[in-house]
Symmetry: C2
Subunit: 414 residues, 2 copies
């Protein structure tokens, strides 16, 4: 059926992005995997195809797409089965990223190799980002000695209320695309392919991006109504990415060089309480002006955050417990993380009647021991925003580097 | 804060739609409520504002927007409180539809009158459609004698597995927009406004539209991978809409003239079973070719469905239990409904490990006693697709006509 279901014809006429644009998306110098179509990093061109192969995986430095479907899996096979699954996933992911249906036996008496709901839809800047969770290294697959030291088990943080069924996992796939149906379709097909080798543990649909993707994308608003990601790492800045995000040769596992660590947190926002707090309270809690996004005491969102500023009575202009102070690199030994979160809305909590909505927080970093863990420890204990938040899901994953031609997921590991 | 948070400036430069386009959207001759901005019915212009006032509510004949947030509410106040809520909702809905923030006291020591997450986003063709559920007429509000006969309690259908917390409700609001954050924001603010008068009972986020909106929109695919809505009522055809959708003077309640009845069904699709069935099975189940969407035995999706065609051995070309035969007007006494459903994906069912994903089915009609109820009774008992479906939520609502200038929700009723 793959020929009949081809989405490829839709790519006809898609422009080839300039080298400068490719450089901006962090894949400079890498051949585009499929045909002549190529990436526009932050544009809304639905025909755009992002490179599947390169030094780094897509979906990390990529300017955030509009929609997210994040999935985690439990592996139910042995090491050979795991290797076979990762190989099958590689082929499927490469085709899906290019806007093509999954291939396989396709007679009328075979199940269709592709589930079909994305047929006719353009590639929509789909990226698929693979990660390995701590349980994968527990001995079932002979990988105990390959676990990176940085892939820590996250400690319990003050205020956590974690649902184990919404966290953890042996494997994860982050699917991001400008069309939610394209992202869902990819997870749907990868789940189907995993039948007999891995079962889906949870997945999360993201409604809208909250993080900016460098200068090319304006900073969106989260469900608190505030701009989010204003002070995010700029993924266009390769020096900053090398410093804070990409694993280098100083780590303990060679297979992770060029990769990064992903921490995901499902954070419900107590919207009812937040919505009843005053504008002044909200602005003091965040440390920014709600409408403009400017740091308190400044006028523009792009103004630098001056944590030393004092106002009337010698009080700090940005309160001592304001979120942007607590999260700032200056408060965290100079550390920063690349945020790439999405707002979610999953209905009403049947036990409380509250909206089960908030932020699906995804962040990438070189070493969670130096970045997410100490930052979140500080936030959980001190941030004025903490009382409005409830962390209900949590995961950590080692995202390996990108694949060169001929390589498959798990290269250098499995 | 309303002035500071204005989204109105974004409307500058929005074109005024032609009278012909307005006629196509079913609001011909009606003044556009806010300023000079007006509707393009099926375009993707994010600056487009759809008329809030007119003979019919928006979100019914409107070509389906990309995203849905459907919410139901339980009223917790008395009749005067209900009237006040509906009046407040009217003002908020009119502003939201125009891409403007909700107004209210907006000093620094007031809670912001608008939750803020849509500031900076264009109107995105937002529509807000109000409905009244059967419980509203139970006597709490003195409305027992105003309940339309057509607003029946839906019977139990074969195969239902309804969760009461995902169905029913005194009031509903269907929010549709081309940006999911705009739709969520509207429900978020209307829920906040209802504090003390009504509580949100459930809401459902729709990932992607499944129904076509007449000739202007191609037919999308549902999570079965098949085109959906191919044989849907064309909302551009006013004769057909008058025949099947809009309530006329022959009903028992004058306040419903120009309105319609909404039935919503949350239908999980057993995707794992469906994905393992063969292409031939899938096509026989639906009665269409998967890739092209053509009825079996035909070549194009737009070909008429010939239920009388016979093939080899005298067997019907479209099987006796095929979904399109069972759902066809010819099988249902000539009756048809306007479908306006959305695919949903709500994570993994913790009890079965299945994807909790499928179709949030919304349909509009003149009289459910003649339309949805007999059609669904036939489908539940005979449709080859039924074994792949599980209905987990259900609701029915009387959607009153649109509002003229100066009128508020509940006009003629409360």
């Amino acid at each position: 059926m793959s020929g009949r279901l081809s989405r490829r014809r839709l790519l006809a006429g898609t422009g080839v992005a300039s080298a400068a644009l490719l450089a901006g998306s962090g894949v400079a110098g890498v051949g585009v995997a499929i045909g002549a179509a190529a990436a526009t990093p932050a544009g809304d061109d639905p025909g755009a195809v992002l490179a599947f192969r390169g030094p780094h995986q897509g979906g990390i430095a990529t300017p955030p797409q509009k929609a997210l479907v994040f999935a985690a899996f439990d592996v139910t096979t042995d090491r050979a089965g795991l290797a076979a699954l990762l190989s099958q996933w590689t082929g499927a992911a490469e085709r899906l990223t290019a806007g093509q249906p999954v291939e396989g036996p396709d007679g009328p008496f075979d199940p269709p190799p592709d589930t079909g709901e994305a047929v006719g839809l353009p590639p929509s800047r789909l990226t698929l980002t693979l990660g390995f969770g701590p349980p994968l290294f527990d001995g079932r697959f002979g990988l105990s000695r390959r676990r990176p030291a940085a892939l820590v088990d996250l400690p319990a943080f003050a205020g956590d209320d974690l649902d184990p069924s919404l966290g953890g996992g042996d494997l994860c796939i982050q699917a991001c695309a400008d069309d939610p149906q394209v992202a869902f379709h990819a997870i749907h097909d990868l789940t189907r392919i995993a039948l007999g080798s891995a079962t889906i543990r949870y997945y999360q649909v993201g409604l809208a991006r909250t993080a900016s993707g460098g200068s090319a994308q304006p900073s969106p608003r989260n469900l608190l109504g505030f701009h989010d990601g204003t002070a995010n790492i700029n993924p266009d800045d390769r020096d900053v990415m090398d410093r804070f995000v990409w694993v280098d040769g100083s780590g303990d596992q060679r297979w992770m060089v060029g990769g990064t660590y992903l921490v995901v947190r499902r954070i419900r926002i107590h919207l009812e309480a937040w919505d009843r707090s005053t504008l002044a309270d909200q602005e003091r809690t965040i440390g920014r002006v709600k409408v403009s996004g400017a740091p308190l005491g400044s006028t523009r969102a792009s103004d630098p955050v001056d944590l030393g500023a004092v106002g009337y009575g010698g009080q700090p202009t940005i309160p001592a417990d304001a979120h942007i102070r607590m999260a700032a690199p200056a408060t965290n030994s100079g550390q920063a993380i690349l945020r790439r979160g999405y707002s979610f809305a999953d209905g009403v909590d049947p036990t409380t009647g509250e909206l089960d909505a908030g932020l699906y927080f995804l962040c990438f970093q070189k070493d969670p021991r130096l970045q997410f863990v100490p930052i979140q420890t500080r936030l959980a204990g001190n941030d004025a925003l903490t009382p409005y938040l409830l962390h209900t899901g949590s995961g950590i994953f080692a995202c390996p580097p990108g694949l060169a031609e001929g390589q498959t997921f798990g290269h250098g590991l499995v």
